[in-house]
Amino acid sequence: MTSSPERIVGTSPVKQRRSGRGGMSRNAGSDVKAAYLFIAPAIIGFLVFVGYPLVRSFYLALTKYNGLTDPVFIGLGNFRRLFTTDPAFWPALKATAYLVVLYVPLSLVLGLALAMFLNQRFAGVRVVRTLAYLPVVLPAVATITLWKFILDPQVGLLNTILDRLGLPTSLWLQSPNTSMPSVVLVMLWGVGGTMIIFLAALQSVPTELYEAARVDGAGSWAVFFRITLPMISPIVLLQVILQTTAALQTFNQPKILTNGGPGFSTNVLMLSIYGNGFPTLGRIPQLGYASAQVWVLFIIIIAVIALTAKFSSLWTYSDNTSD
């Protein structure tokens, strides 16, 4: 929570406004009441949907609780079990890390490449944009189920195509070596979500800058690294944070595609939490234990984001050093 999104967000010269300060300080007295009226719903929501669960789940993390009988306080017992005896915890952390390392860079690179590709004037570019964004619009459960079919080693479309082209086929989701890359492959099909934000950022880069660079005789790589990338660096950082947070909380894809298998190969932390909190038919939930896992996940997310934000101040371009 220490990261400061304000700092992340730099300035595009076009939309930069500095004229407003005077307007804000006028009538300060009535502003306070009005302001609190305007944000009251959000504050109530924050207290109820963020504050309360946070406190409550921290308490539950210190208890043995099955939702049926009252929680029993056991101190750090859950965390002890988590870090020492639970055979599923370390594999879950490993799977989560693997997924993040695989997914986040690929999603950013592909998203940006796709955005640059689609940020050009060609007839029909909007159709292509729409199609590229299509997978994001569609219901996740439906498309993931569809992919499970496509990746089926025996009746799936992908192996059929590869086979006809004379290319090697794969077990995809069913082998511990390829299961996580296959899950990431399905996630990357939704790269349109990353693309569209990059596209929005690219469109707000003023064209004068490109023209000026052209006059200076800069090559296209130079234009990319000297102009495009610095200009969109705030949004790149925002994307890193959003994608990492989302990747750490990946649930739908492994749940539907593999349910964590084979072995623990795709059993990411969220899946493990869900399995303990809402177990399969006929098993008693371990809500206290699941809450302890949630807290571990939460702390990991905060740590990763804090590191990213700290590291980012080195490379994020920002032109409003004043203020």
Binding site: A35, A42, I43, G45, M116, F122, V141, W189
Partner: protein, 302 residues
């Protein structure tokens, strides 16, 4: 993986094509269309395949090798599939739940964004950090405590847990987006309105809302998708099948119990109908959507 990776290299190539518009124009154009065609194929072929499954008979799905086109076209799947889950009723439920949560989510986020961007008050920074920080909170944190909260105040098996959070600023990303967009609007506009004697409510409604159309349309699209596709929450909170939204109804096709092959043909056929509303909305509002998202990275801090 290989299929997707190849996308990266051509886009690098067209990157080069862009500055050099004039000279090898034809080659560049052709290359662009080839790549574009490939991208379209990757995105669309799975969906086409879905349509063909929807048209196949129940067991033909498992033909080996799989056939791209059905040899007998079972159009009746598009009638019988939806009928099996009481499609019209669930559709109506989904519409009601989704429109209310879109309304609530957009309205409260715009209000909060307005206050955070344009009003000066103690605690402004604090609340901003808290709201944005809650973006990082894993959703499961709430699942267990909130379930018990709803249960104890009698909201179990009602639509309230699906709608009320939206009316209470449920999506911090929206608040962030709204604030960023509001920051980009010149303050001289407020001042002019104030001189005319307008209060904050009037400024917000009649001055700001029209100016920020891309922002709230973007949020509306995102909120629509999220609510329309939400599966876990309605599953957990709704007990009576009469109240289900479509997302839960869709799941009743996939039954691993009692020796039934999941009826993939019905599933895929119904799926097409289920997907239509979000698709139409996205097509209609695409321009504003991209414009609105631009606010995420393009405005200054203040």
């Amino acid at each position: 993986m290989t299929t997707l990776l190849t996308e990266a290299s051509p886009s690098g190539a067209t990157e080069t094509a862009r500055p050099a518009k004039k000279k090898p124009r034809l080659a560049g154009t052709t290359a662009w269309y080839v790549v574009a065609l490939f991208i379209c194929a990757v995105m669309v072929v799975p969906l086409l395949w879905m349509i063909t499954i929807g048209l196949k008979s129940r067991t033909a799905v498992f033909d080996i090798p799989p056939k791209l086109l059905p040899h007998e076209w079972t159009w009746s799947n598009f009638v019988n599939g939806p009928k099996a889950i009481h499609f019209p009723r669930l559709f109506l439920n989904s519409i009601i739940i989704t429109s209310l949560s879109v309304l609530g989510g957009v309205m409260t986020a715009m209000m909060a964004g307005y206050a955070l961007a344009r009003l000066r008050f103690p605690g402004r920074k604090l609340w901003f950090y808290l709201f944005v920080g809650s973006m990082l909170l894993p959703g499961v944190v709430g699942l267990i405590p909130l379930f018990q909260l709803y249960k104890s105040i009698g909201w179990y098996d009602t639509w309230l847990p699906l709608i009320v959070p939206a009316f209470l600023g449920g999506n911090p990303l929206f608040i962030f987006l709204a604030r960023q967009y509001f920051l980009a609007i010149p303050y001289s506009i407020d001042e002019a309105a104030k001189i005319d004697g307008a209060g904050h409510l009037r400024i917000f409604v009649s001055v700001m809302l029209p100016l920020t159309r891309p922002a709230w349309l973007t949020m509306a699209i995102l909120a629509f998708q999220a609510s329309w596709n939400d599966y876990l929450n309605p599953l957990v909170y709704l007990y009576s099948s009469g109240k289900w939204p479509l997302s839960v109804g869709m799941a009743s096709f996939v039954s691993p119990f009692a020796g039934k092959t999941p009826d993939w043909s019905y599933y895929m056929a119904t799926n097409l109908l289920y997907m239509l509303p979000p698709l139409i909305i996205f097509f209609a509002a695409q321009r504003y959507f991209i414009q609105g998202l631009g606010a995420l990275g393009s405005t200054t801090q203040k």
